[in-house]
Symmetry: C2
Amino acid sequence: MAQKKTHCDCLNTIKPVRDALDVISGKWKLPIIISVGVGNDRFTDIQESIPLITPKVLAKELKELEQHKLIKRIILGEYPVKISYKLEPYANTLTPIIYALKDWGINHRKKVMDR
Amino acid sequence: MAQKKTHCDCLNTIKPVRDALDVISGKWKLPIIISVGVGNDRFTDIQESIPLITPKVLAKELKELEQHKLIKRIILGEYPVKISYKLEPYANTLTPIIYALKDWGINHRKKVMDR
């Protein structure tokens, strides 16, 4: 009987890729990092720069990005309270992923259009 | 009155990044591509190599990856029907993203553990 081929192990790649996707996956996390990265530091500016995001979703995503040490929330003034957001240095480690995704997305759109 | 700062435009990065995430986001797509890429070409081998994925989910994800021209489904034999999967050449364009995510995931896990 043909010897059953055992599957090839690839967990040492799947696990870290999944760890990364757990942090940055979803519709909003990377767009928020990109928006703050280009200089949008106020809540309304970030919201206006990302189509279709609601204030409630933006507030939740900003909180999660803070917990992952990717974004910093700064209280500028006491009364009226002014809040500003900026990227933590750690967020710069995402730059290679953002550019790789950007390139791939541009080419994928061309490939889909050419069909 | 202080001139209202208009938000900085970053759509030319957000849109392609989102196009890419639409295709590869989620828990299973990249793990399946990684698994087939290391040589798992049979349905059960792919399923066994990815923890917690069910046959129903794997079948759905494989179909979507076929539609995105990333995976090819090959019928090997008529009776009994034997099916094999392999990466389309186009899937190689994901390699930079997979390695960037892998590196980031490894470092993120270390950073989280060090806290």
